[in-house]
């Protein structure tokens, strides 16, 4: 088990009316869950908390989250990830899924 937190600068997210959070994936073996929530403490930071069952991949997580913050306006969010040994290819996909759910009117 590995747990870490890090914040990334990101352009402010334009919140659609009424949306407070979005979820993608499930906590289950070989899968992961991404929760993106409104974070009123900031407008230009994406605060991330990662809990992974497989240690040793912190640099990959940080690279993936850093790219995400750079590519998608995510300032003012808190991103919580619960990973149960998902394949690396699932990480960005689930982030994009949750984000897509969030920004859809």
């Amino acid at each position: 088990m590995e747990k870490f937190a890090k914040s990334f600068s990101s352009k402010p997210l334009a919140w659609p009316r009424g949306k407070q959070w979005a979820l993608a994936g499930v906590v289950g073996s070989g899968n992961l869950e991404v929760l993106i929530e409104r974070n009123s403490k900031t407008t230009d930071q994406m605060e991330c908390i990662v809990e992974s069952s497989i240690p040793g991949y912190k640099s990959s997580w940080l690279a993936a989250l850093g790219d995400f913050a750079a590519n998608y306006p995510s300032g003012g969010t808190k991103v919580t990830i619960h990973d149960q040994g998902a394949d690396p290819i699932v990480v960005t996909f689930r982030l994009r899924q949750a984000y897509d759910h969030l920004i859809k009117p």
């Binding site: 993608a24 990959s60 690279a63 993936a64 790219d67 750079a70 590519n71 394949d87 690396p88 290819i89 699932v90 990480v91 960005t92 996909f93 994009r96 899924q97 984000y99 897509d100 759910h101 859809k104």
Partner: protein, 549 residues
């Protein structure tokens, strides 16, 4: 000066057939006499061809051959497309093979790597299918060919059923050069549904005690298709199939392309693509094609081989498939490979490893698999002259010079950035470049598809259009840009990736209008094998290993 003998092969064949003597009644021999018969018809120094590709095997004859001792079988130059059976490996262990020329060693890949390491695998070269079939007419013409057929009639005509595959490509050069064609058949009957090989080209026939081995190699259970594969299928459908209006194509046989097949009647229909794309296919009768065929997407399918369980379905859909007059499915590996080379707009398939230059391979240090047919289709056909919309569009993007062909075939590699077990698909250098492997292969690294031939790489991250890259540096940056969080991907520069994205060389899902939130297994037209059976109206008979109801 003594006259040069110009018909020695014919005389030699007559001599061999004389030695057969009473072991044969006409062309027919008994199963128990096969080892003795093989001793009499094979001579030291022969080029010997064993039929066997990745699906169909002359396994009874191969097993009998492997029982012969060193004094009965020596100095053999073995030519064959696929080394797939334990009996094939046995021949090398016995040391009776002087040289081997082949194409593919799927399930025996590890054994071949081991034999090579032990110096017991006297390799000539590894070929693609049509390459070795071509050499059967040049410098590798078999003296004896051991082949497999479904049925023989009393005259010795052969019926090859759904798995015609490579039999004609072996029989013709052998029969027309005074070689001996020896066929194992599942049964001898009074009359056969159609004549695939005329009796005139067959010398000996044995009714084998067990039917020839057939593998259901191309059956993919929709239940095993993942969300990420569905995402990649959506990316490919919008970014390539729709964009280039791909009319004719060859699909690889992995789960990625199965996902695309199963999205046609759902996502493809939503996009309004029916009748605009995917009309003509060079592909085996894949069960995952059934929903698209039943929904009226497909005008024609030509196949290099059959697929177990698809016999009744293909017979009932003879407008789509090539069949005998009785509906029996027809395949032809050599002609199918040719169709896949010259006749189609696109080759799209998965791979195990891609390097930063776009070269791909399925070879690893402990597993030498070879090539099979993919390189014949995953390459640019430089002899192509007929234009299609897709071919011209891809050609224009690649900025042809005054001395180059105006069009380009779409050669697309589908690859998740990691394989299972967190093994990166993208690498700086292929395992195939290992100096030991290269040396064993006489200086040629076993590259399946070369980066220069590839037009697009599709990953779960997006599409890299390699054909539109102007320099090798740009191509590498484009590959790194879609290589995710592999070591290759981590080396990308964000500035370069952005620049390529602004030029449309890298396209992310959102650039293509693909919403990740739409990804769902419910988009698959069939959820499992049972669903495929239902779509087929009960005409598809899945093999037992796929039936769990």
């Amino acid at each position: 000066m003594s006259p040069v003998i110009q018909d020695s092969r014919r005389r030699n064949k007559a001599e061999r057939m004389r030695r057969v003597g009473r072991l044969a009644t006409g062309k027919f021999v008994s199963a128990k006499s096969v080892p003795e018969l093989l001793k009499r018809i094979i001579e030291p120094g022969d080029i010997l061809c064993l039929e066997g590709d990745n699906q169909k095997q002359a396994d009874f004859l191969a097993n009998q051959l492997a029982t012969l001792g060193k004094k009965d079988l020596r100095d053999i130059h073995l030519v064959m497309s696929c080394i797939t059976l334990p009996a094939h490996i046995e021949l090398f262990k016995k040391g009776v093979i002087r040289q081997v020329d082949f194409c593919y060693a799927g399930p025996q890949g590890q054994a071949v790597a081991q034999l090579l390491a032990d110096g017991k695998f006297p390799l000539g070269a590894i070929h693609t299918y049509n390459e070795i079939y071509s050499r059967y007419y040049v410098d590798l013409t078999p003296r004896v060919a051991l082949i497999a057929a479904a049925q023989a009639d009393r005259q010795g005509n052969l019926f090859l059923a759904a798995n015609t595959e490579e039999t004609p490509a072996i029989v013709e050069p052998t029969a027309f050069s005074d070689g001996i064609v020896f066929a194992q058949v599942n049964e001898i009957v009074d009359s056969i549904p159609r004549i695939d090989i005329p009796a005139d080209q067959v010398d000996l026939i044995v009714e084998a005690p067990y039917p020839m081995h057939l593998t259901a190699l191309f059956t993919r259970d929709p239940a095993a298709i993942t969300d990420v594969q569905i995402l990649m299928a959506m990316i490919a459908l919008r970014g390539i199939y729709q964009e280039y209006e791909v009319q004719s194509l060859n699909h690889g046989v992995g789960f990625n392309t199965a996902a695309i097949e199963l999205l046609l009647p759902t996502y493809g229909e939503q996009l309004g693509l029916k009748g605009k794309i995917c009309k003509y296919w060079m592909v085996n009768p894949l069960p995952t094609m059934i929903p698209a065929i039943e929904s009226g997407w497909v005008d024609g399918v030509f196949s290099v081989g059959g697929e177990v369980g698809m016999e009744r379905y293909t017979a009932a859909r003879s407008d789509i498939f090539f069949t005998g007059r009785d509906g029996s499915f027809h395949s032809n590996r050599a002609m199918g490979q040719l169709a896949g080379h010259y006749g189609v707009d696109m080759f799209i398939g998965a791979t195990l490893q891609i390097d930063v230059n776009g070269n791909s391979s399925t070879v690893s240090k402990t597993r030498i698999t070879g090539f099979g047919g993919a390189p014949n289709m995953g390459c640019q056909p430089m002899g192509r002259r007929h234009p299609t919309k897709a071919w011209l569009k891809a050609g224009a993007e690649s900025n042809p010079g005054p001395g180059s062909i105006p069009g380009r075939k779409l050669v697309v590699q589908l690859a998740e950035t990691f394989q299972s077990g967190r093994v990166p698909t993208f690498v700086e250098e292929l395992d195939a470049q290992d100096p030991g492997i290269k040396k064993a292969l006489h200086g040629v690294a076993p590259v399946m598809i070369y980066g220069d031939d590839v037009t697009h790489v599709v990953t779960e991250e997006g599409i890299a259009n390699l054909a539109a890259c102007r320099t090798i540096g740009e191509r590498r940056a484009a590959i790194r840009g879609v290589a995710g969080y592999t070591p290759v991907g981590l080396k990308r520069s964000m500035r370069e990736t952005r620049e390529l994205r602004s030029r449309g060389i890298i396209r992310l899902p959102e650039d293509l209008g693909v919403s990740p939130s739409e990804v769902s297994r419910s988009l698959l037209a069939a959820q499992d094998i049972k669903g495929l059976v239902r779509w087929s109206g009960g005409l598809y008979d899945p093999p037992a290993q796929f039936v769990d109801w």
